[in-house]
């Protein structure tokens, strides 16, 4: 058959049309189908989540030998565990026999993971230790051949990342320019190691990239979070009035970006001689009552603020002012989010209490901030269904870019520089392997 005799549908490769997600990302805009096309979502799980470093937890969540927590990489259930030698493991949560999950608890302490179906027992490092009536496998396989599948796992400053991609670059290289900002973020333990204090969990009926964008979106803050700002004292409300300030968004490469909203709170160990704000006066007094020196009181009070920036790490975690924001794509139109509260390991109780109360004020499903974010995101997902064609704009501030002191592209605090950085990485990953 020559070309002229082909029908239109034969000329266009209909089956592959929706798979060209990379072409739906341009420098200043992305196509709305990236929020709504189930085929693109399936491709994202494979090309993004199964193909890069994904945040699975913080070391303080598995503090002792035998500690574990369950997590997900995309849709895949995994277990983060600490063995008796204190090594960390990230294991596929799937028995090698018939495939049942071997752990359903959110977190805990154990000596072994035992499959509930036929009783196969695995060690904290994933090795198959014992199984009932092993004689039927004599000569069929050896136990050493049947461990839980292990992922590659690396940590940076207590943050644990894992990947299914065995030949990926080292985590530190992947984080690159973001490491400096993680170092700054970890100063909020107030001289104590940063520790997870608890977490809020909620979901919203929308695509995961809506949340990815939001953490580097200062533009929405005074609009969506007006009711939160109203609930603050005047001095604190002034701090959150940052759109006309000296903040910026810097593209850190590999999809990562930092949005500095409150420049005076970038380094929590600097400016310790500043007056103690009214909202921390009670905390300062409680710390003094515990016998803390004035220097330590000031250090803890300043750390209690949290940092003045959001560090967005592609694809699933943000070091967001005072907490970790972790996203998980559930389906093209559903995303689960954890807001992980942080404090100091061994820090005075009033400090950690204040950190939790501040977290409750804004974060989580009942905070004064999150429900309004959720409402806006739900509207984005709904609106993305309108019309046969349409684009999402991420071109704000493209007219006003400069080089940062670290040599990165940077824009105004309310620019969409971070979103463009994330989508550049997304496009690169989604384009990889095309034309195979």
């Amino acid at each position: 058959m020559n070309e002229e005799n082909k029908t239109m549908t034969e000329l266009i490769d209909i089956q592959n049309i929706s798979l060209k997600a990379a072409e739906l990302v341009e420098e200043g805009r992305v196509h709305k189908s990236l929020y709504s096309d189930p085929a693109i979502f399936e491709e994202e799980l494979d090309k993004v989540f199964n193909n890069t470093w994904v945040f699975v937890g913080h070391e303080s969540e598995v503090p002792e030998a035998g500690s574990f927590k369950t997590a997900y990489i995309g849709r895949q259930p995994v277990i983060l565990s600490r063995d008796r030698q204190m090594n960390l493991h990230v294991l596929e949560n799937r028995c090698k026999h018939r495939g049942a999950t071997v752990c359903e608890a959110r977190k805990g302490k154990t000596k072994a993971f035992t499959c509930p179906y036929h009783g196969w027992g695995y060690g904290l490092d994933g090795s198959l230790r014992a199984l009932p009536k092993p004689e039927e496998y004599a000569g069929v396989f050896d136990k050493s051949e049947m461990p839980l599948e292990s992922l590659r796992v690396e940590t940076y400053r207590g943050m644990v990342f894992a990947t299914f991609k065995k030949d990926i670059e080292p985590l530190e290289d992947f984080l690159g320019g973001a490491r400096k900002w993680i170092d700054l973020f970890m100063k909020q333990g107030g001289g104590y190691p940063v520790k997870v204090l608890g977490e809020h969990r909620f979901n919203f009926p929308g695509n995961w990239k809506i949340q990815l964008e939001n953490t580097t979106d200062a533009y929405h803050f005074p609009i969506v979070h007006k009711s939160f700002v109203t609930s603050l004292d005047e001095a604190t409300a002034d701090i959150f009035d940052f759109l006309d300030g000296e903040g910026f968004v810097e593209d850190l490469g590999n999809g990562h970006s930092v949005m500095v909203m409150i420049p005076q709170l970038v380094d929590l160990e600097a400016d310790l001689d500043q007056p103690i704000p009214a909202r921390f006066a009670q905390l300062a007094q409680e710390l003094r009552n515990e016998g803390k020196s004035e220097a330590e009181v000031r250090k803890l009070v300043r750390a209690a603020h949290g940092t003045g920036f959001n560090l967005n790490l592609f694809p699933n975690v943000s070091c967001s002012m005072a907490f970790f924001r972790v996203l998980r794509p559930v389906s093209v139109g559903e995303t689960e989010i954890q807001h992980v509260a942080l404090g100091g390991e061994g820090a005075p109780a009033p400090f950690n209490r204040k950190r939790m109360r501040l977290h409750e004020h804004f974060q989580g499903p009942m905070g004064f901030g999150t429900p309004d974010d959720g409402e806006a995101w739900e509207r984005v997902q709904k609106g993305a269904m309108a019309g046969p064609d349409g684009w999402i704009l991420v071109n704000r501030g493209m007219n006003n870019l400069h080089d940062s002191p670290d040599g990165n592209v940077a824009g105004a605090v309310c620019s969409e520089t971070g979103m463009r950085g994330a989508y550049r990485q997304y496009k690169k990953m989604m384009a990889a392997g095309e034309g195979k």
Partner: protein
């Protein structure tokens, strides 16, 4: 424990009154049902009892309750404006402890919320510490233990 039908009736009446105020957004009156030191708590971890030293979904003292009510009513919160209505059933009321200073009671709640045309249901155990006063009971503590507290909840722009 000797059954005290009069006390049970009083507590049940109070719980029904509070529920009715919340479903009908009578927040100002609701705020007056508290002692000055009262705490409204929605735990994130149902095994936790030391609420002050744990992360909760909400832990409101008098100031935070006032701010929460203001947020729901001042027209600045897009999510608060999207909440349709709530209807909650309170039942299975039981007095756990009856003293002169305080009455501890527990009941079951099923709260239904209509939001964007969809019904969302929140089953919970609710625990009260009530202080008898000349104006009737005042809440010293209300703990709403959502069945789904440690799951992935939808966002909440009303008061449990």
């Amino acid at each position: 424990m000797k059954s005290n039908t009069q006390l049970l009736a009083q507590v049940t009446e109070f719980i029904g009154y509070e529920a009715d105020l919340l479903d009908h957004k009578g927040y100002k009156e609701w705020l007056s049902l508290w002692t000055d030191s009262g705490l409204y708590i929605v735990p994130a971890d149902l095994n936790e009892t030391d609420y002050l030293n744990a992360l909760n979904l909400a832990l409101d003292d008098a100031e935070m309750r006032n701010l929460r009510v203001a947020r729901l009513q001042n027209g600045e919160s897009v999510s608060a404006m999207s909440v349709g209505n709530t209807v909650r059933m309170m039942s299975r009321v039981r007095i756990l402890e009856a003293g002169e200073e305080a009455v501890m009671a527990r009941c079951a709640m099923t709260l239904n919320e209509l939001r964007h045309g969809k019904l969302v249901s929140y089953p919970a155990n609710v625990e009260y510490i009530l202080r008898p006063t000349s104006e009737g009971f005042k809440m010293e503590q209300k703990v709403v233990k959502l069945l789904h507290a440690d799951g992935f909840l939808r966002t909440v722009s009303f008061i449990f």
